[in-house]
Amino acid sequence: MRLPSATLETGPPVPLGLCGLARLVRRRPLVLIGGGLLTLLVVLALAAPLYAGDPVNMDPFKRLHPPSAAMWFGSDNLGRDVFARTIFGARISLLVGLLSAACAAVAGLVIGILAGYSRSFDNIVMRVMDGLMSIPTILLAIALISLTGPGIGILIVAIAIPETPAVARLVRSVVLSVRERPYVEAALCGGARLPKVLWRHIVPSTIPALMVQSATVCASAIMTEAALSFLGVGVPPEIPSWGNMISSSRLFLSIAPMTVFAPGICLAVTVLAVNLLGDGLRDMFDPRAKRRR
Protein backbone atom coordinates (compact mmCIF):
# COMPACT_ATOMS: atom_id res chain seq x y z
CA MET A 1 0.00 0.00 0.00
CA ARG A 2 1.43 3.36 -0.96
CA LEU A 3 0.34 6.32 1.03
CA PRO A 4 1.13 9.76 -0.27
CA SER A 5 2.67 10.34 3.10
CA ALA A 6 3.65 13.69 4.46
CA THR A 7 7.27 12.83 5.15
CA LEU A 8 8.65 15.06 7.80
CA GLU A 9 12.08 16.56 7.50
CA THR A 10 13.38 16.03 10.97
CA GLY A 11 16.26 18.34 11.46
CA PRO A 12 17.66 19.29 14.84
CA PRO A 13 14.92 19.77 17.47
CA VAL A 14 13.37 23.23 17.46
CA PRO A 15 14.41 25.11 20.62
CA LEU A 16 11.27 26.10 22.50
CA GLY A 17 11.86 28.89 25.02
CA LEU A 18 8.98 31.08 26.20
CA CYS A 19 10.12 33.93 23.96
CA GLY A 20 10.65 31.56 21.05
CA LEU A 21 7.20 30.11 21.63
CA ALA A 22 5.59 33.55 21.47
CA ARG A 23 7.39 34.30 18.21
CA LEU A 24 6.35 30.97 16.69
CA VAL A 25 2.73 31.50 17.65
CA ARG A 26 2.71 34.92 16.01
CA ARG A 27 3.96 33.38 12.80
CA ARG A 28 1.66 30.36 13.00
CA PRO A 29 -1.98 31.45 13.25
CA LEU A 30 -3.24 27.85 13.02
CA VAL A 31 -1.38 26.86 16.18
CA LEU A 32 -2.78 29.96 17.88
CA ILE A 33 -6.40 29.38 16.80
CA GLY A 34 -6.37 25.62 17.35
CA GLY A 35 -4.42 25.74 20.59
CA GLY A 36 -6.40 28.71 21.90
CA LEU A 37 -9.74 27.07 21.14
CA LEU A 38 -8.61 23.83 22.74
CA THR A 39 -7.34 25.63 25.87
CA LEU A 40 -10.67 27.48 26.12
CA LEU A 41 -12.58 24.18 25.85
CA VAL A 42 -10.40 22.55 28.51
CA VAL A 43 -10.90 25.50 30.88
CA LEU A 44 -14.68 25.54 30.25
CA ALA A 45 -14.84 21.79 30.86
CA LEU A 46 -12.73 21.86 34.02
CA ALA A 47 -14.69 24.77 35.49
CA ALA A 48 -18.06 23.17 34.63
CA PRO A 49 -19.24 22.58 38.25
CA LEU A 50 -18.75 26.30 38.99
CA TYR A 51 -21.24 27.64 36.47
CA ALA A 52 -22.97 25.05 34.29
CA GLY A 53 -25.64 23.81 36.68
CA ASP A 54 -26.78 20.26 37.29
CA PRO A 55 -26.43 17.92 34.29
CA VAL A 56 -28.36 14.95 35.75
CA ASN A 57 -31.28 16.60 37.59
CA MET A 58 -34.54 15.58 35.89
CA ASP A 59 -37.61 17.81 35.92
CA PRO A 60 -40.73 16.13 34.49
CA PHE A 61 -42.49 19.51 34.16
CA LYS A 62 -39.79 20.94 31.91
CA ARG A 63 -39.52 18.31 29.18
CA LEU A 64 -38.27 19.35 25.72
CA HIS A 65 -38.46 23.09 26.50
CA PRO A 66 -37.06 25.41 23.81
CA PRO A 67 -33.94 27.46 24.63
CA SER A 68 -34.60 30.22 27.18
CA ALA A 69 -32.70 32.58 29.50
CA ALA A 70 -32.78 29.99 32.27
CA MET A 71 -31.81 27.04 30.06
CA TRP A 72 -29.69 28.34 27.19
CA PHE A 73 -30.00 25.22 25.04
CA GLY A 74 -33.45 24.13 26.32
CA SER A 75 -34.13 20.80 28.00
CA ASP A 76 -34.18 17.19 26.83
CA ASN A 77 -36.91 14.54 26.95
CA LEU A 78 -36.30 13.90 30.66
CA GLY A 79 -36.30 17.61 31.52
CA ARG A 80 -32.52 17.83 31.96
CA ASP A 81 -30.64 21.04 31.16
CA VAL A 82 -28.99 20.54 27.74
CA PHE A 83 -26.47 23.36 28.32
CA ALA A 84 -25.22 21.76 31.56
CA ARG A 85 -25.06 18.34 29.92
CA THR A 86 -23.16 19.69 26.91
CA ILE A 87 -20.57 21.40 29.13
CA PHE A 88 -20.17 18.31 31.31
CA GLY A 89 -20.02 16.19 28.13
CA ALA A 90 -16.89 18.12 27.12
CA ARG A 91 -15.10 16.67 30.16
CA ILE A 92 -15.61 13.07 29.10
CA SER A 93 -14.85 13.73 25.41
CA LEU A 94 -11.61 15.56 26.17
CA LEU A 95 -10.60 13.06 28.86
CA VAL A 96 -11.14 10.01 26.66
CA GLY A 97 -9.67 11.73 23.57
CA LEU A 98 -6.49 12.95 25.28
CA LEU A 99 -5.87 9.76 27.28
CA SER A 100 -6.42 7.51 24.23
CA ALA A 101 -4.09 9.67 22.17
CA ALA A 102 -1.48 9.58 24.95
CA CYS A 103 -1.73 5.77 25.21
CA ALA A 104 -1.47 5.33 21.44
CA ALA A 105 1.47 7.77 21.25
CA VAL A 106 3.46 6.08 24.02
CA ALA A 107 2.73 2.55 22.74
CA GLY A 108 3.49 3.60 19.16
CA LEU A 109 6.72 5.32 20.24
CA VAL A 110 8.00 2.26 22.12
CA ILE A 111 7.01 -0.20 19.37
CA GLY A 112 8.31 2.08 16.61
CA ILE A 113 11.72 2.61 18.26
CA LEU A 114 12.21 -1.07 19.00
CA ALA A 115 11.09 -2.01 15.47
CA GLY A 116 13.45 0.59 14.00
CA TYR A 117 16.39 -0.85 15.90
CA SER A 118 15.84 -4.60 16.05
CA ARG A 119 15.31 -6.42 12.79
CA SER A 120 13.81 -9.59 14.31
CA PHE A 121 11.36 -7.57 16.40
CA ASP A 122 10.59 -5.48 13.33
CA ASN A 123 9.58 -8.45 11.19
CA ILE A 124 7.11 -9.86 13.69
CA VAL A 125 5.64 -6.73 15.21
CA MET A 126 5.18 -4.76 12.01
CA ARG A 127 3.24 -7.68 10.49
CA VAL A 128 0.96 -7.58 13.56
CA MET A 129 0.59 -3.82 13.03
CA ASP A 130 -0.33 -4.42 9.35
CA GLY A 131 -3.03 -6.83 10.49
CA LEU A 132 -4.38 -4.38 13.09
CA MET A 133 -4.42 -1.59 10.52
CA SER A 134 -6.62 -3.54 8.16
CA ILE A 135 -9.37 -3.94 10.79
CA PRO A 136 -11.78 -0.98 10.65
CA THR A 137 -11.30 1.18 13.79
CA ILE A 138 -14.91 1.28 14.94
CA LEU A 139 -15.50 -2.44 14.43
CA LEU A 140 -12.34 -3.32 16.35
CA ALA A 141 -13.39 -1.10 19.24
CA ILE A 142 -16.93 -2.55 19.16
CA ALA A 143 -15.57 -6.11 19.29
CA LEU A 144 -13.23 -5.32 22.21
CA ILE A 145 -15.95 -3.61 24.23
CA SER A 146 -18.65 -6.19 23.49
CA LEU A 147 -16.36 -8.88 24.91
CA THR A 148 -15.37 -7.05 28.09
CA GLY A 149 -18.41 -4.93 28.88
CA PRO A 150 -18.60 -1.12 28.97
CA GLY A 151 -16.39 1.16 31.08
CA ILE A 152 -14.22 4.24 30.65
CA GLY A 153 -10.93 2.34 31.05
CA ILE A 154 -11.70 -0.30 28.44
CA LEU A 155 -13.08 2.42 26.16
CA ILE A 156 -9.74 4.26 26.23
CA VAL A 157 -7.84 1.04 25.50
CA ALA A 158 -10.28 0.06 22.74
CA ILE A 159 -9.82 3.44 21.03
CA ALA A 160 -6.03 3.50 21.52
CA ILE A 161 -5.32 0.02 20.08
CA PRO A 162 -6.53 0.70 16.51
CA GLU A 163 -4.65 4.05 16.50
CA THR A 164 -1.31 2.61 17.61
CA PRO A 165 -0.10 1.04 14.31
CA ALA A 166 -0.05 4.35 12.43
CA VAL A 167 2.07 5.96 15.17
CA ALA A 168 4.41 2.96 15.31
CA ARG A 169 4.94 3.04 11.54
CA LEU A 170 5.72 6.74 11.54
CA VAL A 171 8.17 6.51 14.47
CA ARG A 172 9.84 3.49 12.88
CA SER A 173 10.38 5.35 9.60
CA VAL A 174 11.95 8.30 11.44
CA VAL A 175 14.20 5.96 13.46
CA LEU A 176 15.33 4.14 10.32
CA SER A 177 16.52 7.40 8.78
CA VAL A 178 18.04 8.86 11.96
CA ARG A 179 19.98 5.78 13.04
CA GLU A 180 22.35 6.19 10.09
CA ARG A 181 23.18 9.82 10.90
CA PRO A 182 26.80 10.56 11.86
CA TYR A 183 25.99 11.89 15.33
CA VAL A 184 24.37 8.59 16.29
CA GLU A 185 27.39 6.70 14.99
CA ALA A 186 29.66 9.09 16.84
CA ALA A 187 27.79 8.57 20.11
CA LEU A 188 28.04 4.79 19.73
CA CYS A 189 31.73 4.97 18.85
CA GLY A 190 32.27 7.23 21.85
CA GLY A 191 31.16 4.33 24.05
CA ALA A 192 27.58 5.37 24.85
CA ARG A 193 25.29 2.43 25.58
CA LEU A 194 22.42 1.73 23.18
CA PRO A 195 19.57 2.58 25.63
CA LYS A 196 21.23 5.92 26.32
CA VAL A 197 21.67 6.63 22.60
CA LEU A 198 18.03 5.76 21.96
CA TRP A 199 16.87 8.06 24.75
CA ARG A 200 19.24 10.99 24.13
CA HIS A 201 19.52 10.99 20.35
CA ILE A 202 16.78 8.93 18.73
CA VAL A 203 13.70 9.77 20.84
CA PRO A 204 14.09 13.58 20.56
CA SER A 205 14.26 13.40 16.77
CA THR A 206 10.94 11.57 16.63
CA ILE A 207 9.16 14.21 18.74
CA PRO A 208 8.09 16.62 15.94
CA ALA A 209 6.53 13.86 13.85
CA LEU A 210 5.04 12.30 16.97
CA MET A 211 3.40 15.57 18.03
CA VAL A 212 1.76 16.06 14.63
CA GLN A 213 0.59 12.46 14.55
CA SER A 214 -0.71 12.68 18.13
CA ALA A 215 -2.96 15.59 17.17
CA THR A 216 -4.44 13.51 14.32
CA VAL A 217 -4.87 10.54 16.66
CA CYS A 218 -6.51 12.75 19.29
CA ALA A 219 -9.03 14.15 16.78
CA SER A 220 -9.83 10.68 15.59
CA ALA A 221 -10.10 9.37 19.17
CA ILE A 222 -12.60 12.08 20.13
CA MET A 223 -14.70 11.19 17.07
CA THR A 224 -14.49 7.45 17.80
CA GLU A 225 -15.54 7.97 21.43
CA ALA A 226 -18.57 9.98 20.30
CA ALA A 227 -19.41 7.40 17.63
CA LEU A 228 -19.17 4.50 20.09
CA SER A 229 -21.28 6.34 22.68
CA PHE A 230 -23.78 7.14 19.92
CA LEU A 231 -23.98 3.44 19.05
CA GLY A 232 -24.43 2.56 22.74
CA VAL A 233 -21.08 0.87 23.44
CA GLY A 234 -19.09 3.85 24.68
CA VAL A 235 -19.49 5.90 27.82
CA PRO A 236 -22.15 4.42 30.18
CA PRO A 237 -25.48 6.25 29.70
CA GLU A 238 -25.60 7.73 33.21
CA ILE A 239 -22.54 9.90 32.44
CA PRO A 240 -23.42 12.76 30.04
CA SER A 241 -21.29 12.57 26.90
CA TRP A 242 -21.88 14.15 23.49
CA GLY A 243 -22.33 10.79 21.78
CA ASN A 244 -24.97 9.41 24.11
CA MET A 245 -26.74 12.80 24.31
CA ILE A 246 -27.21 12.70 20.53
CA SER A 247 -28.24 9.07 20.73
CA SER A 248 -30.92 9.64 23.38
CA SER A 249 -32.28 12.84 21.78
CA ARG A 250 -32.35 11.69 18.15
CA LEU A 251 -36.07 10.80 18.27
CA PHE A 252 -36.88 14.38 19.31
CA LEU A 253 -34.93 16.04 16.49
CA SER A 254 -38.05 17.57 14.93
CA ILE A 255 -39.45 18.96 18.24
CA ALA A 256 -36.24 20.01 20.01
CA PRO A 257 -33.38 20.23 17.49
CA MET A 258 -31.05 21.88 20.01
CA THR A 259 -30.87 18.63 22.02
CA VAL A 260 -29.03 17.08 19.05
CA PHE A 261 -27.32 20.15 17.56
CA ALA A 262 -25.71 21.49 20.76
CA PRO A 263 -23.60 18.39 21.47
CA GLY A 264 -23.06 17.89 17.72
CA ILE A 265 -21.67 21.39 17.18
CA CYS A 266 -19.46 21.16 20.29
CA LEU A 267 -18.09 17.86 19.06
CA ALA A 268 -17.31 19.32 15.64
CA VAL A 269 -15.67 22.45 17.12
CA THR A 270 -13.49 20.35 19.43
CA VAL A 271 -12.30 18.08 16.62
CA LEU A 272 -11.73 21.13 14.41
CA ALA A 273 -9.58 22.76 17.11
CA VAL A 274 -7.42 19.65 17.45
CA ASN A 275 -7.09 19.30 13.67
CA LEU A 276 -6.09 22.97 13.27
CA LEU A 277 -3.48 22.56 15.99
CA GLY A 278 -2.14 19.47 14.19
CA ASP A 279 -2.01 21.28 10.82
CA GLY A 280 -0.29 24.24 12.46
CA LEU A 281 2.31 22.01 14.12
CA ARG A 282 3.01 20.28 10.80
CA ASP A 283 3.58 23.62 9.06
CA MET A 284 5.84 24.62 11.94
CA PHE A 285 8.02 21.52 11.74
CA ASP A 286 7.90 21.06 7.97
CA PRO A 287 7.67 24.38 6.11
CA ARG A 288 8.27 22.53 2.84
CA ALA A 289 4.93 20.72 3.12
CA LYS A 290 3.08 23.98 3.59
CA ARG A 291 4.22 25.36 0.28
CA ARG A 292 3.01 22.25 -1.48
CA ARG A 293 -0.33 22.00 0.24
Binding site: R2, P4, L132, I135, P136, L139, G232
Partner: protein
Protein backbone atom coordinates in the same frame (compact mmCIF):
# COMPACT_ATOMS: atom_id res chain seq x y z
CA UNK B 1 6.29 -8.91 -12.76
CA UNK B 2 4.87 -12.37 -11.96
CA UNK B 3 7.22 -12.52 -8.99
CA UNK B 4 5.94 -9.16 -7.76
CA UNK B 5 2.30 -10.22 -8.04
CA UNK B 6 3.06 -13.44 -6.19
CA UNK B 7 4.95 -11.61 -3.44
CA UNK B 8 2.19 -9.05 -3.06
CA UNK B 9 -0.46 -11.77 -2.81
CA UNK B 10 1.57 -13.68 -0.23
CA UNK B 11 1.86 -10.58 1.91
CA UNK B 12 -1.91 -10.03 1.63
CA UNK B 13 -2.45 -13.59 2.88
CA UNK B 14 0.01 -12.95 5.72
CA UNK B 15 -1.93 -9.84 6.77
CA UNK B 16 -5.21 -11.78 6.69
CA UNK B 17 -3.60 -14.50 8.82
CA UNK B 18 -2.64 -11.81 11.36
CA UNK B 19 -6.22 -10.53 11.40
CA UNK B 20 -7.43 -14.11 11.88
CA UNK B 21 -5.06 -14.78 14.79
CA UNK B 22 -6.01 -11.49 16.39
CA UNK B 23 -9.78 -12.05 16.15
CA UNK B 24 -9.36 -15.65 17.29
CA UNK B 25 -7.34 -14.67 20.35
CA UNK B 26 -9.70 -11.80 21.17
CA UNK B 27 -12.51 -14.19 22.10
CA UNK B 28 -10.24 -16.78 23.75
CA UNK B 29 -8.35 -14.29 25.90
CA UNK B 30 -11.36 -12.17 26.88
CA UNK B 31 -12.37 -12.42 30.54
CA UNK B 32 -14.93 -15.17 30.95
CA UNK B 33 -15.57 -18.47 29.20
CA UNK B 34 -15.76 -18.20 25.36
CA UNK B 35 -18.56 -20.77 25.27
CA UNK B 36 -20.59 -18.64 27.72
CA UNK B 37 -20.06 -15.55 25.55
CA UNK B 38 -21.04 -17.38 22.37
CA UNK B 39 -24.08 -19.01 23.98
CA UNK B 40 -25.48 -15.73 25.27
CA UNK B 41 -27.13 -14.86 28.57
CA UNK B 42 -30.16 -17.13 28.31
CA UNK B 43 -28.34 -20.36 27.43
CA UNK B 44 -28.71 -23.57 29.45
CA UNK B 45 -25.79 -25.67 30.71
CA UNK B 46 -26.31 -28.19 27.90
CA UNK B 47 -26.18 -25.50 25.20
CA UNK B 48 -22.90 -24.15 26.62
CA UNK B 49 -21.49 -27.68 26.73
CA UNK B 50 -22.66 -28.27 23.15
CA UNK B 51 -20.92 -25.12 21.93
CA UNK B 52 -17.78 -26.05 23.84
CA UNK B 53 -17.74 -29.45 22.14
CA UNK B 54 -18.55 -28.15 18.64
CA UNK B 55 -15.76 -25.54 18.78
CA UNK B 56 -13.38 -27.97 20.42
CA UNK B 57 -12.72 -25.50 23.23
CA UNK B 58 -11.15 -28.28 25.31
CA UNK B 59 -8.40 -28.75 22.67
CA UNK B 60 -5.14 -26.79 22.78
CA UNK B 61 -5.27 -23.32 21.17
CA UNK B 62 -3.39 -24.15 17.91
CA UNK B 63 -5.77 -27.06 17.22
CA UNK B 64 -8.76 -24.79 17.90
CA UNK B 65 -7.33 -22.21 15.52
CA UNK B 66 -7.01 -24.73 12.68
CA UNK B 67 -10.63 -25.85 13.23
CA UNK B 68 -11.81 -22.27 13.33
CA UNK B 69 -10.04 -21.29 10.10
CA UNK B 70 -11.20 -24.44 8.34
CA UNK B 71 -14.82 -23.69 9.27
CA UNK B 72 -14.58 -20.15 7.93
CA UNK B 73 -12.88 -21.13 4.70
CA UNK B 74 -15.77 -23.55 4.22
CA UNK B 75 -18.20 -20.63 4.57
CA UNK B 76 -19.29 -21.52 8.11
CA UNK B 77 -19.11 -18.31 10.14
CA UNK B 78 -21.10 -19.66 13.08
CA UNK B 79 -24.64 -19.33 14.38
CA UNK B 80 -26.21 -16.09 15.57
CA UNK B 81 -27.04 -16.26 19.29
CA UNK B 82 -30.13 -14.12 19.00
CA UNK B 83 -31.88 -15.58 15.95
CA UNK B 84 -30.26 -19.01 15.84
CA UNK B 85 -29.64 -18.67 12.08
CA UNK B 86 -26.29 -18.96 10.27
CA UNK B 87 -24.40 -15.65 10.40
CA UNK B 88 -23.51 -15.73 6.70
CA UNK B 89 -27.21 -15.98 5.79
CA UNK B 90 -28.05 -12.95 7.97
CA UNK B 91 -25.21 -10.97 6.41
CA UNK B 92 -26.22 -11.80 2.83
CA UNK B 93 -29.82 -10.69 3.57
CA UNK B 94 -28.48 -7.28 4.62
CA UNK B 95 -26.06 -6.89 1.74
CA UNK B 96 -28.25 -4.95 -0.72
CA UNK B 97 -28.81 -1.73 1.29
CA UNK B 98 -25.16 -1.58 2.36
CA UNK B 99 -23.85 -2.17 -1.16
CA UNK B 100 -26.26 0.42 -2.61
CA UNK B 101 -25.13 3.02 -0.07
CA UNK B 102 -21.43 2.22 -0.49
CA UNK B 103 -21.42 2.25 -4.28
CA UNK B 104 -23.44 5.48 -4.59
CA UNK B 105 -21.17 7.08 -1.98
CA UNK B 106 -18.01 6.13 -3.84
CA UNK B 107 -19.41 7.34 -7.19
CA UNK B 108 -20.30 10.71 -5.65
CA UNK B 109 -17.06 10.99 -3.64
CA UNK B 110 -14.78 10.14 -6.57
CA UNK B 111 -16.45 12.35 -9.18
CA UNK B 112 -16.85 15.38 -6.91
CA UNK B 113 -13.59 14.85 -5.01
CA UNK B 114 -11.37 14.45 -8.08
CA UNK B 115 -12.97 17.38 -9.97
CA UNK B 116 -12.79 19.58 -6.86
CA UNK B 117 -9.10 18.72 -6.43
CA UNK B 118 -8.26 19.37 -10.09
CA UNK B 119 -10.03 22.74 -10.11
CA UNK B 120 -8.30 23.75 -6.86
CA UNK B 121 -4.88 22.83 -8.27
CA UNK B 122 -5.60 24.60 -11.56
CA UNK B 123 -5.93 28.00 -9.89
CA UNK B 124 -3.93 27.76 -6.69
CA UNK B 125 -5.05 30.37 -4.17
CA UNK B 126 -8.21 31.05 -6.17
CA UNK B 127 -11.78 30.93 -4.92
CA UNK B 128 -12.21 27.16 -5.43
CA UNK B 129 -8.88 26.48 -3.75
CA UNK B 130 -9.83 28.52 -0.69
CA UNK B 131 -13.26 26.86 -0.68
CA UNK B 132 -11.52 23.49 -0.56
CA UNK B 133 -9.49 24.51 2.51
CA UNK B 134 -12.69 25.38 4.41
CA UNK B 135 -14.57 22.37 3.07
CA UNK B 136 -11.87 19.89 3.96
CA UNK B 137 -11.43 21.34 7.46
CA UNK B 138 -15.17 20.74 7.98
CA UNK B 139 -15.14 17.36 6.24
CA UNK B 140 -12.37 16.12 8.53
CA UNK B 141 -13.91 17.55 11.70
CA UNK B 142 -17.68 17.05 11.62
CA UNK B 143 -18.54 13.44 12.50
CA UNK B 144 -20.70 11.62 9.99
CA UNK B 145 -23.69 11.18 12.33
CA UNK B 146 -23.74 14.90 13.15
CA UNK B 147 -23.77 15.73 9.42
CA UNK B 148 -26.60 13.21 9.03
CA UNK B 149 -28.83 14.83 11.65
CA UNK B 150 -28.20 18.32 10.24
CA UNK B 151 -29.15 17.17 6.73
CA UNK B 152 -32.25 15.35 8.03
CA UNK B 153 -33.34 18.43 9.94
CA UNK B 154 -32.93 20.91 7.09
CA UNK B 155 -33.79 18.79 4.03
CA UNK B 156 -36.40 16.42 5.43
CA UNK B 157 -38.04 17.77 8.60
CA UNK B 158 -38.11 21.49 7.77
CA UNK B 159 -38.59 21.40 3.99
CA UNK B 160 -40.09 17.92 3.39
CA UNK B 161 -38.00 17.65 0.21
CA UNK B 162 -36.66 14.20 1.03
CA UNK B 163 -37.72 11.26 3.21
CA UNK B 164 -36.48 11.44 6.82
CA UNK B 165 -35.35 7.86 7.21
CA UNK B 166 -35.75 4.34 5.89
CA UNK B 167 -34.83 2.34 2.83
CA UNK B 168 -36.76 1.09 -0.20
CA UNK B 169 -35.35 -2.02 -1.89
CA UNK B 170 -34.16 -1.76 -5.48
CA UNK B 171 -36.98 -3.97 -6.77
CA UNK B 172 -39.63 -1.51 -5.50
CA UNK B 173 -38.47 0.88 -8.23
CA UNK B 174 -35.47 3.00 -9.10
CA UNK B 175 -37.16 6.26 -8.01
CA UNK B 176 -38.05 5.43 -4.39
CA UNK B 177 -34.76 3.55 -3.96
CA UNK B 178 -32.75 6.55 -5.12
CA UNK B 179 -34.77 9.17 -3.21
CA UNK B 180 -34.25 7.29 0.07
CA UNK B 181 -30.52 7.05 -0.54
CA UNK B 182 -29.81 10.73 -1.41
CA UNK B 183 -29.34 12.03 2.15
CA UNK B 184 -27.39 8.98 3.43
CA UNK B 185 -25.10 9.13 0.39
CA UNK B 186 -24.37 12.85 0.77
CA UNK B 187 -23.84 12.38 4.52
CA UNK B 188 -21.35 9.57 4.12
CA UNK B 189 -19.49 11.02 1.14
CA UNK B 190 -18.60 14.49 2.53
CA UNK B 191 -15.56 13.26 4.47
CA UNK B 192 -14.35 11.21 1.51
CA UNK B 193 -14.83 14.12 -0.90
CA UNK B 194 -12.57 16.21 1.35
CA UNK B 195 -9.98 13.42 1.59
CA UNK B 196 -9.91 12.62 -2.15
CA UNK B 197 -9.95 16.30 -3.17
CA UNK B 198 -6.99 17.15 -0.94
CA UNK B 199 -4.85 14.30 -2.23
CA UNK B 200 -5.86 15.03 -5.85
CA UNK B 201 -4.88 18.67 -5.40
CA UNK B 202 -1.51 17.84 -3.84
CA UNK B 203 -0.75 15.22 -6.48
CA UNK B 204 -1.77 17.51 -9.35
CA UNK B 205 0.31 20.40 -8.00
CA UNK B 206 3.37 18.17 -7.94
CA UNK B 207 2.85 17.20 -11.59
CA UNK B 208 1.95 20.72 -12.74
CA UNK B 209 5.40 21.96 -11.68
CA UNK B 210 7.15 19.41 -13.92
CA UNK B 211 9.12 20.55 -16.96
CA UNK B 212 6.90 18.70 -19.42
CA UNK B 213 3.91 20.73 -18.25
CA UNK B 214 5.75 23.93 -19.17
CA UNK B 215 6.56 22.34 -22.52
CA UNK B 216 2.91 21.46 -23.05
CA UNK B 217 1.92 25.05 -22.24
CA UNK B 218 4.61 26.38 -24.57
CA UNK B 219 3.42 24.35 -27.52
CA UNK B 220 -0.03 25.81 -26.96
CA UNK B 221 -2.00 23.00 -25.31
CA UNK B 222 -5.39 24.12 -23.98
CA UNK B 223 -6.02 24.18 -20.21
CA UNK B 224 -8.33 21.22 -20.65
CA UNK B 225 -5.74 19.13 -22.48
CA UNK B 226 -3.04 20.10 -19.99
CA UNK B 227 -5.11 19.20 -16.95
CA UNK B 228 -6.74 16.02 -18.18
CA UNK B 229 -4.34 14.56 -20.75
CA UNK B 230 -0.96 15.54 -19.35
CA UNK B 231 -1.42 16.12 -15.62
CA UNK B 232 -4.21 13.85 -14.39
CA UNK B 233 -2.69 10.72 -15.92
CA UNK B 234 0.63 11.34 -14.23
CA UNK B 235 -1.03 12.26 -10.93
CA UNK B 236 -3.11 9.10 -10.98
CA UNK B 237 -1.28 6.76 -8.62
CA UNK B 238 -1.80 8.61 -5.31
CA UNK B 239 -5.40 9.38 -6.32
CA UNK B 240 -6.09 5.72 -7.00
CA UNK B 241 -4.50 4.85 -3.66
CA UNK B 242 -6.75 7.14 -1.63
CA UNK B 243 -9.80 5.91 -3.51
CA UNK B 244 -8.84 2.37 -2.52
CA UNK B 245 -8.28 3.39 1.10
CA UNK B 246 -11.58 5.31 1.19
CA UNK B 247 -13.49 2.33 -0.13
CA UNK B 248 -11.87 0.09 2.43
CA UNK B 249 -12.59 2.47 5.32
CA UNK B 250 -16.22 2.90 4.29
CA UNK B 251 -17.60 0.25 6.67
CA UNK B 252 -17.09 2.35 9.83
CA UNK B 253 -19.05 5.21 8.29
CA UNK B 254 -21.67 2.79 7.00
CA UNK B 255 -22.40 1.54 10.54
CA UNK B 256 -23.05 5.12 11.71
CA UNK B 257 -24.95 6.29 8.61
CA UNK B 258 -27.24 3.26 8.64
CA UNK B 259 -27.99 3.91 12.31
CA UNK B 260 -28.83 7.57 11.68
CA UNK B 261 -31.05 6.84 8.65
CA UNK B 262 -32.49 3.57 9.92
CA UNK B 263 -31.30 1.59 6.91
CA UNK B 264 -31.54 -2.19 7.41
CA UNK B 265 -28.02 -3.02 6.20
CA UNK B 266 -24.93 -4.68 7.63
CA UNK B 267 -24.26 -1.68 9.85
CA UNK B 268 -27.64 -2.07 11.54
CA UNK B 269 -26.93 -5.79 11.87
CA UNK B 270 -23.77 -4.96 13.83
CA UNK B 271 -25.56 -2.42 16.04
CA UNK B 272 -28.38 -4.88 16.78
CA UNK B 273 -25.73 -7.50 17.50
CA UNK B 274 -24.15 -5.16 20.09
CA UNK B 275 -27.50 -4.76 21.86
CA UNK B 276 -28.21 -8.52 21.78
CA UNK B 277 -24.61 -9.36 22.78
CA UNK B 278 -24.47 -11.47 19.61
CA UNK B 279 -20.69 -11.90 19.30
CA UNK B 280 -20.60 -14.32 16.31
CA UNK B 281 -22.08 -11.59 14.08
CA UNK B 282 -19.59 -8.93 15.24
CA UNK B 283 -16.68 -11.32 14.73
CA UNK B 284 -17.82 -12.30 11.22
CA UNK B 285 -18.37 -8.71 10.04
CA UNK B 286 -14.95 -7.82 11.47
CA UNK B 287 -13.25 -10.55 9.44
CA UNK B 288 -15.21 -9.90 6.24
CA UNK B 289 -14.59 -6.12 6.45
CA UNK B 290 -10.86 -6.65 6.98
CA UNK B 291 -10.84 -9.11 4.10
CA UNK B 292 -12.42 -6.47 1.86
CA UNK B 293 -9.80 -3.95 2.97
CA UNK B 294 -6.91 -6.30 2.17
CA UNK B 295 -8.46 -7.34 -1.15
CA UNK B 296 -9.09 -3.77 -2.30
CA UNK B 297 -5.57 -2.66 -1.38
CA UNK B 298 -4.14 -5.65 -3.22
CA UNK B 299 -6.19 -4.76 -6.31
CA UNK B 300 -5.07 -1.13 -6.13
CA UNK B 301 -1.42 -2.13 -5.80
CA UNK B 302 -1.68 -4.41 -8.80
CA UNK B 303 -3.59 -1.77 -10.77
CA UNK B 304 -0.67 0.68 -10.57
CA UNK B 305 1.09 -1.14 -13.37
CA UNK B 306 -2.00 -0.81 -15.57
CA UNK B 307 -2.52 2.93 -15.15
CA UNK B 308 1.15 3.90 -14.97
CA UNK B 309 3.44 2.17 -17.47
CA UNK B 310 6.47 3.75 -15.76
CA UNK B 311 5.98 1.38 -12.82
CA UNK B 312 7.67 -1.93 -13.51
CA UNK B 313 8.47 -4.48 -10.90
Amino acid sequence: MAAYILRRMLSAIAVMAMVGIFVFLLLRLAPGDPADILAGDTATEEMVAGIRASLGLNDPLPVQFVYWVRHMLGGDFGISIFSGRPVLELISQRLEPTLSLSILTMILAVTVGVSFGILAAWRTGGLIDRLLVVFSALGYSVPVFVIGFFLIYFFAIRTHWLPVQGYKPFESGLGPWFVHLILPTVTLSLAYIAFIARVTRASMLEVLSEDYMRTAAAKGASSYAMLFHHALKNAGVPILTVIGISFAYLIGGVVLTETVFNIPGIGRLVVDAINNRDYPIIQSVLILASGMYVLINLTVDLAYTLIDPRIRY
